[in-house]
């Protein structure tokens, strides 16, 4: 206990200085402003803002980076809520209920609860990291490739549970996402896979291209079909900008549950935050007394996942710093930035550079705090953006999305791929397929394949390894149970209530 306090004291002592606080505030503000632009996700935001930190001293730079990181994530959530364009895989779930809330005039409460939930999760996880950091790494080491594969299968089944429509179609969407993620270069041999000899596809289809195409452009295209006047995003009068007491009470339990889920899942290196947000949504839906509200503006559907993904993102710093495994592109950028500033991820960093390490942990908490301080007043500004008439809003979104996609790799073919996925997304809407499970399958595909291959290699082709290793067996068993519960015809009537 005293060690915990000593570590935290060290961190805060390093991080808490007026200059550092200012850096963090600037980082959070700029991160949110850029992250909120539709079409510019967390990866693009952090990549764009990274050079700003180069001139600063290491601790200051890291603190600004933390501010930018959380700002970018929150900006991505803001776009999810306002215009149904998830900036990152973790914001996909927020878009489901958050945007519906925005349409009902409740964008303010949605955004505020997202900020508050994230802050609570950040506080709890900071203490958790400080207290349990080293032992948790030992637990993470128990997870071999078979366990990771089973965990991801469980995560995909969560995506099925949260789908509004039929289980079968959600499963098909997941498989489509998995298949799309296979395009690119093979992991082990580097051979081009399904690229049709196009050099643009050698690195695979980018997440931003798919997400923007299927969510952003397709949403615009669908909205254009509606008669003018009925497609302004704000259909009803804006009620409070702040959440009501009822909202806060309703969100309290989901935030706590989301934090727990996120902290547990986030410790494991891998797509922790994504799975955590989907899992939190599924759990909230199951725990709710009125699950039919989910998908139509239930605030629990925003509170839980936002808390979960923040907890997981922060928890993911532990294996990131100690094992050096970035779970996604955003974290990879952070690792790069940290390396530039002198923190090299590895087992030594906790012991050899404790002030930098704990300063980083403390800066994450400060980043969370800055986010709440800066963004709660700004909620009014974001909501006013919704008042722009749609005929002027949608071309702006189109231009931003184009620029955003182009800026990732300076490649026009990325924009073309996004256009292709816009067509695909339009087709999905016509045939009642949901894009969210496909995105989850796409994100988890490469990791799943890698772990599957590795597990099979280690087990020498023995498929039963997934059932004989205890943790893996438990995870797979849970997925099968959840799948059966979702799809059993006998319980179909109950499930129809669940999805309606």
């Amino acid at each position: 206990m005293s060690e915990l306090l000593a570590n935290l004291a060290l961190g805060f002592g390093v991080a808490f200085s007026p200059m550092n606080l200012l850096f963090c505030a600037i980082g959070a503000l700029v991160g949110t402003l850029i992250g909120v632009l539709p079409g510019i996700g967390s990866v693009a935001t952090i990549a764009m803002l990274l050079p700003i930190t180069f001139g600063l001293p290491p601790v200051g730079a890291l603190i600004m980076l933390a501010g930018i990181y959380y700002g970018a994530q929150y900006g991505g959530s803001t776009t999810s809520v306002l215009v149904n364009i998830p900036g990152e895989a973790t914001s996909v779930v927020t878009a489901i209920d958050g945007h519906q809330m925005a349409k009902q005039g409740r964008a303010g409460p949605a955004l505020s609860i997202a900020a508050i939930g994230s802050f609570f999760a950040g506080c709890v996880t900071t203490v958790l990291i400080a207290a349990l950091g080293p032992p948790l790494v030992a637990v993470a080491l128990l997870f071999g490739p078979a366990e990771y594969f089973s965990l991801m299968v469980l995560g995909l089944i969560f995506a099925v549970v949260l789908a509004k429509g039929s289980v079968l179609k959600a499963l098909a969407m997941i498989l489509m996402g998995l298949l799309l993620s296979q395009v690119g270069s093979d992991l082990e041999t580097g051979a081009g896979r399904m690229t049709f000899d196009l050099p643009e596809l050698a690195d695979g289809i980018g997440f931003a291209n798919i997400a923007l195409g299927v969510f952003g452009f397709a949403e615009i295209v669908r909205n254009l079909e509606l008669p003018p006047g009925s497609r302004d995003i704000l259909m009803q009068k804006v009620t409070n900008l702040m959440p009501t007491r009822q909202d806060l009470i309703a969100s309290a339990a989901p935030i706590v549950r989301g934090t727990t889920i996120g902290a547990i899942i986030g410790i494991l290196p891998g797509a922790g935050a994504v799975i955590a947000s989907f899992a939190a949504y599924a759990v909230e839906k199951k725990f709710s007394k009125s699950p039919e509200r989910f998908g139509y503006g239930a605030i629990e559907g925003v509170a839980g996942p936002e808390a979960a993904n923040n907890a997981a993102a922060q928890g993911a710093f532990i294996p990131l710093l100690t094992l050096g495994i970035p779970p996604n592109a955003v974290m990879a950028l952070m690792v790069g930035a940290m390396t530039i500033h002198g923190i090299v991820p590895g087992p030594q960093v906790m012991t050899k550079q404790p002030d930098l390490f704990w300063g980083m942990i403390a800066s994450m908490w400060i980043g969370n705090l800055m986010l709440v301080i800066i963004n709660l007043p700004l909620v009014g500004v974001w909501v006013t953006l919704l008042r722009v008439p749609y005929r002027l809003l949608f071309p702006s979104i189109v231009v931003f999305c184009c620029i955003g996609v182009y800026s990732i790799n300076n490649s026009p073919s990325d924009v073309l791929i996004a256009a292709l996925f816009a067509v695909i997304g339009y087709w999905f809407a016509k045939h009642d397929f949901e894009p969210a499970p496909m995105l989850l399958g796409f994100v988890l595909g490469p990791l799943m394949e890698e772990n599957l291959r590795r597990a099979m290699l280690i087990a020498r082709g023995d498929v039963t390894v997934f059932a004989t290793r205890p943790i893996s067996a438990v995870l797979l068993g849970t997925s099968i149970v959840m799948l059966i519960l979702s799809g059993l015809p006998m319980l179909r009537k109950r499930r129809e209530i669940l999805v309606e």
Binding site: C402, N410, A419
Partner: protein, 260 residues
């Protein structure tokens, strides 16, 4: 892949009669797509020889052979066109068929990859695995589309989407030769045509404003490497881009026809 306009004749959801859409158009589209896939199977360099299945895996390899599947799809398409199959839920039916076609496309695309050697996964194993499961699920969705009642496919209103897509493609084509300012402005103006309410002066002002904002934000504030104004030989670069694009898209097809 638009399935054509629907006009739902037949009973509504309450009555027992299935709600058919325009099955002829749908079936013909499916058949044409299946034909394209069938022709594509001839571009596979090393088709797997037919072996009588001795193990389950070999049985699967036969069932999930792209050529066989494309023939089956073509037959289904023809059957649908002649109203031999009751399409009760058009969304699911055609949706499932398209998914199966996508899986067949993936099978064709990954046919040249080596598969499993012993217990080590090859590069081709996972794509073929996922494609196989997708084909199975797509078929299941199609079966659901035949057995249970479902809503018809809504009309495709093409005007709005088309303008937006043209704007996006134009942006992609123009951004390199003509720079950010021209590309943003044009993309804004063209995508605004997708909306039925257009006010020219307002649109032009908004387009100009948005362009200025983007330039200030991305180039001045964030120092991103964007080219602002057109290159000196912009039209040459544009033409070169088009040539390369057409070569990429139609090159394999031309080669295949030349081979055949």
């Amino acid at each position: 892949m638009s399935e054509g306009v629907t006009s739902s004749q037949g009973g509504g959801p309450g009555s027992g009669a299935p709600a058919f859409t325009n099955s002829f158009r749908g079936g013909v589209l499916v058949a044409i797509a299946a034909l394209v896939l069938f022709l594509m199977t001839f571009t596979i360099a090393t088709p797997t020889p037919f072996r009588f299945p001795t193990r389950f895996v070999e049985f699967l390899a036969i069932v999930f052979d792209p050529r066989l599947l494309s023939i089956v799809l073509g037959a289904i398409g023809v059957a649908t066109a002649f109203n031999l199959i009751p399409v009760r839920a058009p969304q699911d039916y055609y949706g499932g068929l398209v998914l199966v076609m996508l899986a067949v496309l993936a099978l064709i695309a990954s046919a040249d990859l080596p598969g499993q050697r012993g217990f080590a996964f090859g590069p081709g194993t996972a794509p073929r695995l996922f494609a196989g499961v997708l084909a199975f699920l797509g078929a299941a969705v199609t079966v659901v589309g035949v057995t249970t009642q479902g809503p018809p496919i809504e009309k495709y209103k093409l005007r709005g989407p088309l303008w937006v897509l043209v704007a996006i493609c134009l942006f992609a084509a123009i951004i390199r030769p003509f720079g950010l300012i021209v590309a943003s402005f044009l993309a804004f103006m063209i995508s605004i045509q997708g909306s039925t309410e257009r006010r020219w002066i307002e649109s032009t002002i908004a387009a100009a404003g948005m362009t200025v904002f983007c330039v200030l934000l991305f180039v001045n504030l964030l120092n991103l490497p964007f080219q602002l104004w057109p290159q000196p030989n912009a039209h040459v670069v544009l033409w070169q881009q088009f040539v390369e694009f057409f070569r990429l898209i139609f090159g394999p097809a031309m080669k295949a026809i030349g081979v055949m």
